[in-house]
């Protein structure tokens, strides 16, 4: 190849081509996302009701959030309890189905499509309405219970102690996308490991524990980070099922729902912006912790260990 300068200009060209391919996203980000993001940072230090100009109030919004806003803490509590249940359950379920599908090679693609359907539907308003029908007082679940066991449960969706579980169930039901990622991961596990293990007399469970899980660790980690971020962002189901209130008695008041109420029901745009920034920091914190701890439990094949 030519001299130094030729390769440098080649590199420049390569970079430019790269940016050209990035352009649609980049232009969108710079024009439509970056501006509002920065504006929200400014607004988070103001009192702003949309109709009158924003008034600078310093850190008052943040101080209020941590010292005088019980609904902020309630929203955090609801979101964390939701995630503590939803993320592990969903990942475990997705992994179990993926392992089963991986074995059944022939019908694989059909079932894969079938199991993915809930993930396509799950975020929609129609499904949230359906969920309401299933779990209300005279809903499908209670009718089945009555028919099978002769008793009726409470109105699952309007009882504060159980409402959140119905939302967890709705989230777990949408296990499709982690399942697909797990399936792809399973295909990468070298078959000779399993052959060697079965020659040594290891049973299916032992093989799963000693081969599948460690080899899948990076994929599990990846899925977990994605699900945690998704969990923080959950909004639609709670909004539809509780009619936007987060009720009964704030038992389904997701953080994003609270943020929405403050912004668009009570027009406290400044306070809502501050809530959004705290959410961003919390998500960043959790992702950071995941990455820092990952070296202790995630095994990469090219790892020198």
């Amino acid at each position: 190849m030519g001299g130094r300068s030729a390769s440098a200009s080649g590199a420049l060209r390569r970079d430019l081509i790269g940016y050209a391919f990035l352009a649609p996203w980049l232009v969108g980000f710079l024009c439509f996302s970056l501006g509002p993001v920065l504006a929200s940072l400014y607004l988070s230090f103001t009192k702003f009701d949309l109709l009158r100009p924003a008034v600078w109030i310093g850190s008052e919004n943040y101080v209020r959030m941590f010292s005088a806003d019980p609904r902020f803490w309630q929203a955090l509590k609801v979101t964390f309890s939701y995630m503590a249940m939803e993320v592990p359950l969903k990942l475990a379920f997705a992994l179990a189905v993926a392992v089963a599908l991986d074995k059944a090679v022939r019908a694989g693609s059909l079932y894969r499509a079938l199991f993915y359907i809930p993930s396509l539907l799950g975020g929609s308003v129609a499904i949230a309405v359906l969920w309401r029908q299933i779990f209300e007082g005279n809903g499908t679940l209670n009718q089945v219970l009555l028919w099978l066991f002769g008793f009726k449960g409470p109105s699952w969706i309007s009882t504060p102690d159980t409402a959140l579980y119905t939302l967890v169930l709705l989230a777990v039901w949408q296990f499709g996308s982690p399942m697909i990622i797990f399936l792809a991961g399973l295909r990468q596990v070298p078959q000779d490991l399993y052959e060697a293990a079965s020659m040594d007399g290891a049973g299916a469970w032992r093989q799963f524990r000693k081969i599948t899980l460690p080899m899948l660790a990076p994929v599990i980690f990846f899925n977990m980070v994605l699900q945690v971020i998704e969990g923080f962002k959950a909004f639609t189901p709670a909004f539809v099922i509780s009619g936007g209130t987060g009720g009964p008695i704030d038992s389904t008041l997701f953080y994003t729902l609270y943020l929405y109420q403050e912004a668009f029901a009570y027009f406290r745009m400044g306070y809502a912006s501050a809530l959004a920034w705290v959410l961003l920091l919390v998500i960043g914190l959790f992702t950071g912790i995941s990455f820092l701890t990952s070296k202790y439990w995630v095994y990469y094949e090219d790892d020198p260990r």
């Binding site: 949309l50 109709l51 009158r52 309401r132 209300e136 007082g137 409470p154 109105s155 969706i157 309007s158 009882t159 504060p160 509780s242 009619g243 936007g244 209130t245 009720g247 009964p248 008695i249 704030d250 668009f264 029901a265 009570y266 027009f267």
Partner: protein, 420 residues
């Protein structure tokens, strides 16, 4: 000066195109209006029919949009703030002052003289001496009930002065008929308007004229206590039955076939009956023996014009069509309450069904015993409405004691008002 020429050319061509397009007989033709309201299926059908007819008549195009009460204010607020307000939008007494004082509404005094409105009906839409909202119909709060169920419980008609004790007695009687599945009344402890009326009966008001809370923690405790007794006596269902009711007509226990009585607004009887097979009727609220009814007559809904509307005169004419024109009045009927124009009432009277006559008679009868219109709710009132929902539910589910719930509601309400 080529740019000027080009501009002139475009303008002329545009005008020619518009003239060719529009039916020539109407000066307003070609005007585009947007109209936005909160409603229910029945109201939406009526309003769309009216707008279609008016559009056809005048050659205008009118974009119509309707949402439920809760979503409506969110969307309206966002649109107004974004400089994209509809030309005409429905307004509530609760929000009139807030919107008018922020200069988002157009004063209508010169455009709409409304000669046959009574001064009271007209003044209900005034803020600081100027008319910002045109009354689309008057209503009062009411008890909506299932006629047959009450008859079965031995209550043929509810007397104008029936009491809270009567309410408990009749309700318990009804709950006995189909235990655990059907109740005398829905739980109204969570309904802000019910609390307000109960305060009115005691000579108090929810909000004072200075925008501060007009009630004490003891008042709240009294209100929760009243409903706690009904709950324990089985007059109203357990908390979980009503906890999903967020105020849409289809979510009410009366509509869902779970209770025989429900607090409502008198004009809502039209919407309730539209969703109920059983025959419904309205009566005043129960009260203490010998006490005041606490009822007042208010504009059920108003129509306002955006301060930024490009067609203020056309918008005002459309409002006039809604409230006084013989043709327009017939489309809307009395679904939004009793029309203020005497001429409109006269046009509607011969065509009213029993339900319509009942509504008009009801408001007329209450007019004689009504208390004055309370001060307008201050900013933050919408949030306090939701606060009562949560606190009353918490008490109903037994998560909070009546005393703590009352104190909590009062403290948080005062905070909300101070912050708004």
């Amino acid at each position: 000066m080529s740019t000027l020429n080009r501009r002139q050319f475009v303008a002329t061509a545009g005008a020619a195109a518009a003239a060719a397009w529009a039916p020539s007989s109407f000066a307003q033709a070609g005007t585009k209006l947007r109209c936005f309201w909160w409603g229910n299926p029945d109201r939406d059908k009526r309003t769309r029919a009216l707008l279609d007819a008016y559009a056809k008549k005048t050659g205008m195009s009118i974009a119509a949009e309707a949402l439920g009460w809760g979503d409506y204010w969110t969307k309206l607020g966002t649109q107004v703030a974004g400089g994209n307000a509809p030309d005409l939008f429905q307004m509530d007494y609760r929000y009139l002052f807030e919107y008018a004082r922020r200069d988002t509404l157009l004063p209508l005094d010169a455009l709409l003289p409304l000669p046959d409105f009574s001064p009271g009906d007209r003044n209900g839409g005034k803020v600081d001496g100027k008319l910002y909202g045109v009354n689309l119909g008057t209503n009062s709060k009411a008890m909506a009930y299932d006629v047959d169920m009450l008859a079965k419980a031995g209550a043929k008609t509810l007397d104008m002065a029936w009491t809270w004790d009567d309410f408990g007695r009749i309700g318990a009687e009804i709950s006995k008929m189909n235990p655990g599945k059907y109740w005398g009344s829905s739980d109204n402890s969570r309904w802000e308007q019910g609390f307000e009326q109960w305060l009115n009966q005691r000579g108090k008001s929810l909000y004072a004229a200075d925008g501060k809370a007009g009630f004490t923690p003891d008042d709240v405790a009294g209100w929760f206590d009243l409903w706690d007794k009904y709950r324990k006596a089985g007059v109203i269902p357990p908390a979980e039955v009503g906890a999903t009711n967020n105020g849409k007509i289809e979510e009410y226990e009366l509509t869902r076939g779970l209770a025989a009585m429900s607090f409502a607004n008198s004009n809502q009887i039209v919407a309730f009956q539209g969703l109920n097979k059983n025959k419904l009727a309205i009566s005043p609220f129960p009260r203490d023996k010998g006490g005041s009814s606490g009822h007042y007559i208010k504009p059920s809904q108003m129509m306002s014009v955006s301060a930024r509307s490009k067609a203020p005169e056309e918008s005002a004419k459309l409002i006039n069509f809604m409230v006084t024109d013989p043709e327009g009045v017939k489309f809307l009927g009395i679904e939004r309450g009793v029309p203020c124009s005497a001429a409109a009432r006269a046009i509607l009277a011969p065509e009213l069904d029993a339900l319509g006559k009942m509504q008009i008679d009801f408001v007329a009868a209450l007019g004689k015993i009504a208390v004055p219109l309370p001060p307008p709710p201050p900013k933050g009132a919408g949030e306090i409405e939701k606060l009562l929902l949560r606190t009353a539910d918490s008490v109903a589910f037994g998560k909070t004691s009546i005393k703590d719930g009352a104190q909590q509601f009062h403290t948080e309400a005062v905070n909300i008002l101070a912050r708004a």
